[in-house]
Structures are given as structure tokens and as C-alpha cells.
């Protein structure tokens, strides 16, 4: 895509986050959408492109009263919204539409108007993974990790420290679900979920949503908020079955998506001021730092333990507290994007002073898919 040709002009999360038993899934999409439209000074009839995952863009358009000329129902898990941003940028550049609304809403905790989690017994997962007792992501996303730990000498303490440092960031965010400090011992003494994963190495389960509005950079100047430009994007998919990942110590989807985004953006790693890596579990920032090229294979643990990603470090990472402490309704990618936009607008609760480039990297499924968006606030 063309660098900085498209910008985020509206961004918002749902009015409430965490536990929202009085709003259904589609209601969360709509609440976030209305907040983002208010942020951008738009109404539904100003929108001509829609994208969402979890529900169909048909449902979203009809519910809000939008008549789109562009609809994207890409649904590849929690990074779907990174792909939506990428596709929206291409669509706007191609003249398919002018103004795209991307929404997420999920009643992950309260399950109001939400479907179930499960796979048809005739699907590949139903035939070749479900029979062996996998449940939700805690027993699937985690399976590669022992191989990664053995290959690079990563310890349970290293995994725990990822959660500890992200909690430090969460403490600065009034909307974070968990804000009290934790220690490595706290993490290692929390309930065992799926060895070697303890409860505090796993993401939250919450209700919430978020929405973004994108338009051309040319039009973006006329909107009330400071435009946040899309500098580069990437996406890829690898496998619907975690057991069939090519290599358990690295995600091919991460590597392909990340490289594409950096190539498009024309930046080096040293140019990055702020980083979001979707952290459904504590190992994901380790894989992400290595697969995006910020660290060599096996060196992410030392990078994190050296407090490079912590407050005051050279590469602030997951500054909202991440899925481990901020919020995680099921498809967290939207919240990572929201934090990147806040950082580029200069309004984040844990603002990185002078940040000009933010990399936002998402995962979908259990290492199944990936999307990367690189933002800048410089026109």
C-alpha cells in the first residue's frame, strides 16, 4: 500500500469494559461504533465501508443503518482487525469507498448474545485435535511452548516476568482490569491451568469492544482528531491446527506479516518508538519480539528481563497492560490497535513521550493468523 495514504480519524472503545452483563454482542459493536463516530464527528450515513469479525458485516451495517459500497467480513481470530485496517486502506486507495468503520464487540465473560466455542467433529480440528482433550485456547495456544523453552533455555520465571512487567504498565491505566503490582512468585504460585501455564500467564476474559474509522489522508486533515497515518501493513496465515505449525519455536505467520509491514513502511527497527504485541498468553511477546526481528531467536527473554520493554525502557511494549492485565474479550487485536492510536495521538494514560511510530502486531487463532499495522503521527 501507499505509505500514509490513509489515516485513522475515529477511534474508541466501548463505554464500559470488563463486565457488561446488560449489553449483547451486537450491542457492544454498536456502542463502540457510536463512540468512534462521535470521536470523528460522523453519523452512520457518512460511513460507506464496514468491516467486523465475530458478527457479519451485514448485521453491523443493518443495525447501524449504513448502506456500504464495501464490506469486509474477514474473520481469522483476534488479529482480524489488523487485516481489516489493511484491507480498508487498500479499498480506500482503490476508490471502493471513502470512509470505513471497523468494529469489534464481544461478550467474552457475560456471554450475552454470544455463540459457543467449538468445532464440528468433521472439521480438521474436530478430527485431529479435539479427540485428545483440548479445550479452549489455554490448552492449544500453549502447546508449542515447551519446545521453545527447551530450545532456548527459557524458564517458567522468564514467562512469569512477561506478566509482571505488563502489570506495571496496567497500573498506569485507569481502565485496566488488573492494576495491582504482582511478582514473579505471585505468577508462579497462581493456579495451574495447563502446565507450564499458570493463571497469571493467561489473558483475562472480559466483555467489551472497540471501533476505528479510516479515511484518506487527504480528507483526514478536516476531522477533529489528530490523524494517525497507516505507514505499513502485513498479514499472513499459517494453520488452523496448532499441532501442524511448521516450527514450534517461531510463528511463520508472524514473520511473514511483520516483514511485509516493515517493508511497506520503509522503516528499521530502531525507528520504532512504541510496540504492541497481542498477548493472549505470556509467551506471545517473546515470539513476537523475535519473529518481528526486534530480537534474535532466543534472546527475547533477556530483552524483557533487562527491562527494555518496561516503563522507561527503550522499546515500550503493551503499554495498556495487554491482554494479560488490560482486557481480553476474546479477539483482543482491536484493543492493541486502540492503544497504538492513543499513543500516536499523544493521549495514552501511559504515554510514551514523543512517540512517532507505533507497531501493532496481532495473532489470530492459535498461531493460525497474523496481522501487523504500523502507524505514524507524522504526515
Amino acid at each position: 500500500m501507499m505509505q500514509k495514504s490513509v489515516a485513522v480519524v475515529g477511534a474508541a472503545e466501548t463505554t464500559k469494559m470488563g463486565k457488561i452483563p446488560d449489553v449483547s454482542v451486537i450491542g457492544l459493536h454498536a456502542d463502540a461504533a457510536l463512540n468512534a463516530m462521535a470521536d470523528a464527528g460522523l453519523k452512520p450515513t457518512d460511513i460507506d465501508g464496514v468491516a467486523c469479525a465475530g458478527i457479519s458485516p451485514v448485521e453491523l451495517a443493518q443495525y447501524l443503518g449504513i448502506t456500504p459500497t464495501y464490506a469486509d467480513g474477514t474473520s481469522v481470530g483476534g488479529c482480524s482487525f489488523m487485516l481489516h485496517v489493511r484491507h480498508a486502506a487498500a479499498a480506500i486507495n482503490a476508490g471502493l469507498c471513502t470512509t470505513v468503520l471497523i468494529t469489534h464487540g464481544e461478550s467474552g465473560r457475560s456471554r450475552v448474545g454470544a455463540g459457543g466455542f467449538g468445532r464440528a467433529p468433521s472439521s480438521l480440528m474436530g478430527q485431529f485435535e479435539m479427540p485428545y482433550g483440548v479445550t479452549a485456547p489455554p490448552t492449544m495456544f500453549t502447546i508449542p511452548v515447551l519446545r521453545y523453552m527447551k530450545t532456548y533455555g527459557v524458564t517458567e520465571e522468564d514467562l512469569a516476568n512477561v506478566a509482571v512487567i505488563q502489570r506495571e504498565w496496567a497500573a498506569k491505566n485507569p481502565r485496566a482490569s488488573y492494576r495491582d503490582p504482582i511478582t514473579i512468585d505471585d505468577v508462579l504460585n497462581s493456579d495451574m491451568i495447563a502446565w507450564p501455564f499458570r493463571k497469571l500467564m493467561c489473558c483475562l476474559v472480559t466483555d467489551g469492544g472497540g471501533a476505528l474509522i479510516l479515511t484518506s489522508a487527504e480528507r483526514a486533515k478536516d476531522f477533529p482528531q489528530k490523524p494517525v497515518y497507516v505507514l505499513g501493513t502485513g498479514e499472513s496465515v499459517e494453520t488452523p491446527l496448532v499441532s501442524q505449525m511448521e516450527d514450534f519455536t517461531t510463528s511463520k505467520a508472524f514473520r511473514v506479516s511483520g516483514k511485509k509491514a516493515f517493508d511497506e513502511a520503509g522503516i528499521s527497527h530502531a525507528d520504532v518508538d512504541h510496540l504492541m504485541i497481542y498477548d493472549a498468553f505470556a509467551h506471545l511477546p517473546l515470539y513476537g519480539l523475535e519473529d518481528l526481528g526486534f530480537c534474535k531467536p532466543g534472546e527475547a527473554k533477556d530483552f524483557i528481563n533487562g527491562r527494555n520493554t518496561a516503563i522507561g525502557g527503550k522499546l515500550p511494549l503493551n503499554t495498556n497492560g495487554g491482554g494479560l492485565s488490560y482486557m481480553h474479550s476474546g479477539m483482543y487485536g482491536m484493543y492493541a490497535l486502540q492503544e497504538s492510536v492513543r499513543q500516536m495521538r499523544g493521549i495514552a494514560p501511559a504515554q510514551v513521550d514523543g512517540a512517532k511510530i507505533s507497531v501493532c502486531h496481532g495473532v489470530g487463532g492459535m498461531f493460525a493468523a497474523s496481522g501487523t499495522v504500523i502507524f505514524t503521527n507524522e504526515a
Binding site: 485431529f128 479427540p131 485428545y132 482433550g133 483440548v134 479445550t135 527447551k150 491446527l241 499441532s243
Partner: protein
């Protein structure tokens, strides 16, 4: 305990489940490159060739990675159990359970040699599990 969640074969995978019922672990390979692959499909990934064949695997494997699920799925009983991925001798990996040994980190050591065993779960479905290799 609810009945165990079992696979529902499709036309493309039926031979695999017929194989396990007969005590055989069947893989497929591309007849042009010789490369084995899994899960079953009527063509070779990457090359896209339909010129493939089914063959019987040795059943020998090593332990590639796993977790021990401490929140058992209701149909899996009440005790923690390992969900493992094994590296088959022929190249592909598959998810399975490790049987015939304690479900503990001490007993389940990465790269330990394993061998396939078959357990009948219903009239139509026999699941392939792996146990520590004997001899």
C-alpha cells in the same frame, strides 16, 4: 462422565480412521517428491500434486511438545492429562495423548522415544495414542 468427543471422518480422511481401527497408522506421501504429510488430504501440500499414496507408518515417534491440562474437559475424566504433539519418524507431527506413564513433567521428557498404540473408543473410531517405547 459424558461420552468422549470423537472425530467424524470425511471422505478425505476415512482411510486414516479405517486404518486406526485395523491397528495401522496410515500416512500419505507425494509419489513425486516422496514427502510424507498429515493430516490426510487427496493431494500433496505445496506441490498440489494429486499423485499421492497411502502408506503404513512405523508408529515410532518422539515427544515434540505438550501441556498438562489441569482443568480436564468433562469427557476426559477428572485427573490432569497431557495433550501432546509427537514427531513421527516419517516427518509429520500429530496431536495425541501419551498413555502408559504418569502425566507429569518428570515422566514426560521432550524427545523421549514413543510408539503408537490404538484404543477403541466406539464401533467406528479407534484413536491413536503413544506410549514410551519399549526396547
Amino acid at each position: 462422565m459424558p461420552p468422549r468427543i470423537l472425530p467424524e471422518p470425511t471422505p478425505e480422511t476415512q482411510h486414516f480412521w479405517d486404518g486406526t481401527r485395523n491397528g495401522e497408522l496410515l500416512l500419505q506421501r507425494c509419489k513425486e517428491t516422496g514427502e510424507a504429510y498429515f493430516p490426510p488430504r487427496p493431494f500433496a501440500p505445496k506441490t498440489g500434486s494429486r499423485n499421492v499414496e497411502v502408506f503404513k507408518a512405523s508408529g515410532r515417534a518422539t515427544l515434540y511438545s505438550y501441556v498438562i491440562n489441569h482443568r480436564p474437559r468433562p469427557d476426559m475424566g477428572t485427573e490432569p492429562y497431557a495433550i501432546a504433539v509427537v514427531q513421527l519418524e516419517e516427518g509429520p507431527r500429530m496431536m495425541t495423548n501419551i498413555v502408559g506413564c504418569p502425566q507429569t513433567p518428570e515422566a514426560l521428557v521432550l524427545d523421549m522415544p514413543l510408539e503408537v498404540v490404538f484404543e477403541k473408543m466406539s464401533d467406528t473410531i479407534t484413536l491413536p495414542f503413544f506410549q514410551p517405547a519399549k526396547g
